[in-house]
């Protein structure tokens, strides 16, 4: 058991955090969001140059062969910065699905994704059916779908890879509350002959990686929201003293810290779980991670705003952005109730049997 980062991991953490603190202030972020595609190509290139887009992929596929902990480091920094570039959708979700299920061709497919030239997206909420050799149906809220050139469309346990300009595929792009973009897809007899089929299980695995990344991102956002709240409590004065001298507010901040620590543990757990070979164990664990992230994120976001008072709901104050991003994170890739339902169906962690019987 060891919770320390390795030297390499610490170096990665330093460089990502430096990039975010240098290049990702609230005003800079606003500028990036006002670019035509809703994010900054320049920052995206920085991510590519720093190797972040190659990070989780195996060396065989041309990646860096790093794992859950490294992805967590990136996610936490991105959460603090409220990064809007399509890392989650293209690298963590679609990229991972291709890496897991793309077979021998995966390396070739991943090349331009890792290179940042192609943005890919995974339609985790697709409802599609094959009819002969065509695919029809729809998908809502496809993360990153607004700027993606390549879609992973789950069907059955596997998935289809479709280019954004495939015949019969209509893309309705939009921006999302909390940052980033998405699209609704409608598929009308899209021909599958040229499409690539991804192997069974790849999408499930990718979504687990996505949950892990969201957990890290949420942790970064929550920690930043807590830090900002504590700073505000110490500096904002009313009735001639810092509002942080109010015991009721101190206790609320303490409750926030407890939940932030839980979120951090959830992110770490997810990072470690990504190496877990037992699929049932991963499924249970990721359901717990997402449920806890949803609940803690809701609590921390709401209380950060409450303790900030009026300015907490102002667009000009970053806490309102953390609030919205944390709300969105709670809803993406399956909300809290859905995850708890799933965890209950999977039997939970502790069975009804006597412990000594095991």
């Amino acid at each position: 058991m060891d919770f320390e980062l390795s030297d390499d991991q610490r170096m990665l953490k330093d460089s990502v955090e430096r990039l975010i603190s240098d290049r990702y202030g609230l005003e800079q972020r606003l500028r990036y969001q006002s670019e035509p595609c809703g994010w900054s190509k320049a920052i995206w290139n920085d991510f590519v140059e720093l190797g972040l887009t190659m990070l989780p992929f195996s060396e065989e596929h041309g990646g860096l062969g790093l794992g859950g902990v490294e992805t967590m480091i990136v996610g936490e920094a991105f959460g603090r910065g409220l990064v809007v570039e399509p890392y989650l959708c293209s690298i963590v979700l679609a990229g991972e699905a291709i890496a897991q299920g793309g077979g021998e061709g995966a390396g070739d497919l991943l090349g331009p994704i890792m290179g940042g030239e192609i943005i890919a997206a995974l339609a985790d909420r697709a409802e599609v059916v094959t009819e002969g050799s065509t695919l029809s149906g729809s998908a809502t809220v496809v993360l990153g779908g607004d700027t993606a050139q390549l879609f992973v469309i789950p069907e059955g346990e596997g998935a289809w890879l479709l280019p954004a300009d495939a015949r019969g595929l209509a893309v309705r792009p939009y921006r999302l509350h909390g940052g980033g973009g998405a699209a609704d897809l409608s598929l009308d007899s899209v021909p599958l002959e040229d499409a690539q089929r991804l192997a069974d299980g790849a999408v499930a695995r990718a979504i687990e990686c996505g949950i892990g990344f969201l957990a890290a991102e949420a942790t970064g956002a929550m920690q930043a929201a807590l830090d900002g709240t504590v700073e505000y409590l110490k500096t904002r004065e009313q009735f001639g003293k810092p509002i942080g001298s109010n015991q009721a507010l101190q206790h609320k901040a303490a409750e926030m810290l407890v939940e932030v620590e839980q979120a951090r543990s959830a992110a770490i757990y997810a990072a470690i779980l990504s190496n877990e070979p037992d699929a049932a164990e991963r499924a249970r664990g990721m359901a717990a991670v997402k449920a806890v992230i949803g609940k803690t994120g809701r609590f921390v976001a709401q209380n950060a705003v409450q303790l900030h008072g009026g300015i907490g709901v102002s667009e000009e104050h970053i806490v309102s952005h953390y609030f919205r991003r944390l709300t969105a994170i709670g809803m993406l890739l399956g909300g809290t109730d859905m995850q708890l339902k799933r965890l209950a169906e999977l039997g939970g962690f502790t069975g009804p049997e006597d412990h000594l019987a095991a």
């Binding site: 809220v141 999302l176 998405a182 705003v305 102002s314 309102s320 809803m331």
Partner: protein, 386 residues
């Protein structure tokens, strides 16, 4: 003991509902039902419609041009507006400055302002908070020095709701910086927002909307006849204003409207329906609490600390409903839309403002006395804890 309304009250409720049904502009209605904010024109038009019926100023007495509603009628009227849902008459006009002018205004001020205020010929903004005077309102710094027939006002006000629609602002200024207590040197002033030296800057809120503003006052010359009450006695006026008109503070009708939307979106999701039932159960009981307090307030004067109970539980349930509505709407509610998006088909539930409204409703436990302030009031005044 009897919870039922009289036949007259029931008839009044029906009359209000019919009036709304027949007179509320369908587009305005759709917007409010969708959770959008109507345009200034739509709000003004509706207030004038109400005013023509004599209902624009539900809390004003008859001799001040109001309808002379009883407390129960006022409650029923607001509840019907909230449930319809229809826009409320602009509260800055109707619940804030109107009663203040009726109580403290000179005859000249009443003549000049009351009729126009009721008809929304003047739209008022509230100029109380400052960057360093929020909960601690008396810490305000905006200064007004007397020069002949004018006060010369300089300062920085914040959180002026709808001030970009407003013509005038009622505000608090410090006229005696040397007063022994900070509450003692404050005056209550009416400021024409077209005067030189007034700058209004929008604040965009977490719902993406422009609803609140900052108002900068730079040597603004305000005629002395715009002083309400005595000079340096503005705190008394303020206390009156803040304790006034707590009817409907629980906003139960608005929460009911959210429940309706939740049920439309939930379909056969039993978990959501169970959670809706939990909110509804408490809401039904809160309605009784509301009526109990209303009944007690009929028999008393002055502020009632039990209004804090209504605010606390009312906000809790409204925020819970807005959160559940977001849950019922699911991921698709994350799509960014604006109030200006075209109205969709009549029977399609509008998801566009569910997430913004959930976000901005967090402020309901902040403004008008935060939940922390309300709990302190309850502890001190109702429980005697100090």
């Amino acid at each position: 003991m009897d919870l039922s309304f009289t036949a007259e009250e029931e008839a009044f409720r029906k009359e209000v509902r019919s009036f709304i049904r027949e007179n509320l502009d369908p587009v305005t209605h759709r917007k409010v039902a969708d959770g959008r904010i109507p345009s200034k024109d739509e709000i003004v038009a509706w207030q004038r419609t109400l005013n023509a019926r004599g209902w624009a100023t539900p809390s004003w007495p008859k001799d001040a041009g109001g309808p002379g509603f009883s407390a129960v009628e006022r409650y029923i009227f607001l509840d019907e507006l909230h449930q319809a849902p229809a826009p409320e008459p602009v509260s800055f006009n109707v619940s804030m400055i109107g009663p203040v002018l009726i109580q403290f205004g000179t005859d000249a001020q009443k003549d000049r302002f009351l009729t126009k205020t009721a008809n929304n010929d003047i739209w008022w903004a509230q100029g109380f908070s400052e960057p360093n005077a929020g909960s601690d309102l008396a810490a305000l710094r905006t200064s007004a020095r007397r020069e002949g027939d004018h006060f010369v006002v300089s300062g920085h006000k914040i959180w002026q709701g709808m001030a970009h629609h407003a013509d005038w602002m009622f505000t608090l200024v410090r006229t005696d910086p040397s007063a022994p207590k900070k509450q003692m040197g404050i005056s209550f002033l009416l400021i024409d927002l077209r005067l030189p030296g007034v700058t209004i800057r929008p604040i965009i809120t977490a719902d993406g909307r422009h609803e609140v503003n900052e108002v900068f006052l730079d040597e603004v010359k305000v005629p002395v006849d715009c002083l309400v009450g005595e000079e340096n006695k503005g705190w008394d006026v303020t206390k009156f204003l803040l304790s006034n008109e707590r009817t409907g503070i629980a906003r139960i009708g608005m929460t009911k409207h959210l429940i309706r939307r939740i049920k439309r979106l939930a379909g056969d999701d039993q978990a959501v329906m169970r959670k809706a039932a939990a909110i509804e159960a408490e809401l039904k009981i809160l309605e009784i609490t509301q009526l109990r307090i209303l009944d007690a307030q009929r028999k008393m004067t002055g502020p009632d600390p039990r209004s804090s109970v209504l605010k606390l539980k009312g906000v809790e349930l409204r925020q819970a409903a807005s959160e559940l509505l977001l849950e019922a709407a699911g991921g698709q509610a994350l799509e960014e839309r604006t109030d200006e998006d075209p109205l969709g088909p009549e029977n399609e539930e509008w998801l566009g403002t569910i997430m913004p409204n959930y976000s901005i409703l967090r402020a309901a436990s902040i403004y008008g006395g935060s939940s922390e302030v309300q709990k302190t009031i309850v502890a001190k005044t109702l429980l005697g804890l100090n």
